[in-house]
């Protein structure tokens, strides 16, 4: 099951050139671009591991593509996303976020039903991948 999170997730995978153009857009708007990775794709897992610092002072997006490729070398089998943080007053939040790398096999999520008091059923989702310990997921 293909993970649909963030922007462009219903499009085919972005090429390096696509990434560069999108990151350049963020840089031109004055947003700090950063690269993050994770092997826990749960939709509520918002804090991924940071790959280096956010790039505050790079005027050109080639640096972002360079870092994405460096991250792919180390964590090629995991999810990698590029984010753009807008520090301006009133926003102070993520303005862009898109996945640039995903594992070969994405096993998807299972629905977990929990029986509760008085025939109540609680539902949650769990990634099949996270049943393996951290570091051992996605081969």
């Amino acid at each position: 099951m293909r993970l649909r999170q963030g922007q462009f997730s219903f499009l085919p995978d972005l090429t390096d050139d696509d990434i560069r153009v999108q990151a350049q857009y963020a840089i031109d708007n004055g947003w700090a671009v950063s690269v993050e990775f994770t092997d826990d794709p749960h939709p509520r897992n918002t804090y991924w591991e940071m790959w280096g610092h956010p790039m505050f002072d790079n005027p050109d997006a080639a640096a972002v593509v360079y870092e994405v490729n460096e991250c792919r070398k180390a964590h090629g089998g995991k999810y990698i996303r590029v984010m753009a943080f807008d520090a301006s007053h009133g926003w102070e939040s993520i303005r862009m976020s898109f996945i640039v790398n995903r594992p070969k096999e994405e096993p998807g999520f299972r629905l977990v039903r929990q029986e509760s008091a008085g025939r109540l059923v609680r539902y949650t989702v769990e990634s099949y991948a996270t049943r393996d310990p951290e570091g051992a997921r996605y081969a």
Binding site: G52, M55, D57, N58, P59, D60, A61, A62, A63, Y66, E67
Partner: protein
């Protein structure tokens, strides 16, 4: 004339133009402005200007060839600027960044100036992130490494400079589209640096040598520097400055235009002092902006140069 030939041509290569107007490309790219600015603002440096004009022509032709589909590779643009201190290497690098930007070889055209300290770390594991940080900052522009030979210290085999060199070489090769590296330094030491790092020599296509300025050129530079700050020599001061340049050249630590700038700074200091001590009554703009002969003649250079510093304190205090 019928439409037929054009129709055929269009069929042959729908996306590529059939001819390129170099003169129009020259006008459009704004290269002429950069070259003109170079000619107007930089005194002397005839061989440097010639080389830059040649490089611009090469890049323009290369761009035209790419439009026609004849060339696809990005040419190697890394350069080395060699010359004595104060011969305008940094200033020309700034112009070069502008030129490459206008020709479309770098996307942003900013210049990042670094020395060994910015690239090489203090402890194990510090160098690689530091160098990469600088390289990332320079992407889309030009990285200017001043006194590049300090990166390589053969006397210390555990020096971290070697690590910076390796990363630099790798990025210079793999990210040729993203940044242009200019190495700068004194000619003889750069030669030795290239000899011990053959990887650099082969990755650098353009070696540009900066000659020393002649005395007349330095005098012209001095006048331009002064007029930029709304000062001017009076005729006697101009003669004194010419003599100053001639004798300064023979003395230690001569750094071409930089020495001239420092001399002018000191002359302005003396002029301010003189006006403060001598002036009685109101001063007009002409008086405030005139550098007089005494302001120049008071320099140590006329009394045997910087070595007078080393003499006993009683003499130096005079």
């Amino acid at each position: 004339m019928t439409d037929e030939p054009t129709a055929l041509e269009e069929k042959a290569s729908p996306s590529l133009p059939q001819s390129v107007d170099l003169a129009a490309a020259f006008e459009e790219s704004g290269v002429r402005d950069v070259l003109k600015e170079l000619d107007d603002t930089m005194i002397g440096l005839a061989p440097v200007k010639q080389r830059i004009r040649e490089t611009a022509a090469l890049l323009l032709v290369d761009q035209a060839r790419r439009q026609l589909g004849l060339a696809t590779e990005t040419p190697t643009l890394h350069m080395s600027f060699t010359g004595n201190p104060g011969t305008g290497k940094t200033t020309v690098a700034l112009k070069m960044a502008d030129l490459l930007h206008r020709l479309g070889y770098v996307r942003k055209g900013h210049l990042v100036t670094v020395t060994r300290d910015d690239l090489v770390g203090q402890y194990i594991g510090h160098t690689a992130p530091k160098t990469k940080e600088v390289l990332k900052k320079a992407m889309g522009g030009v990285l200017f490494i001043d006194e590049a030979y300090y990166l390589y210290r053969p006397e210390n085999e555990r020096d971290y400079g070697q690590e910076a060199i390796e990363i630099l070489l790798q990025v210079m090769e793999n990210n040729r589209d993203d940044l242009v590296v200019i190495l700068a330094g004194y000619a003889d030491r750069m030669d030795r640096f290239f000899e011990s790092n053959p990887g650099f020599r082969s990755r650098i296509a353009h070696h540009i040598e900066f000659p020393d300025y002649t005395n007349e050129e330095l005098l012209k530079i001095a006048e331009i520097m002064l007029s930029e700050q709304n000062y001017a020599f009076d005729p006697a001061a101009r003669v004194a400055m010419a003599e100053y340049i001639a004798s300064r050249r023979g003395q230690q630590h001569f750094a071409n235009a930089r020495s001239i700038r420092n001399a002018l700074d000191r002359a302005r200091l003396r002029q301010a002092n003189r006006l403060f001590n001598e002036a009685a009554g109101p001063l007009d703009a002409a008086a405030l902006s005139a550098i007089a002969e005494t302001d120049i003649r008071a320099s140590r250079v006329f009394r045997g140069g910087l070595d007078t510093d080393r003499k006993p304190a009683r003499e130096a205090a005079e």
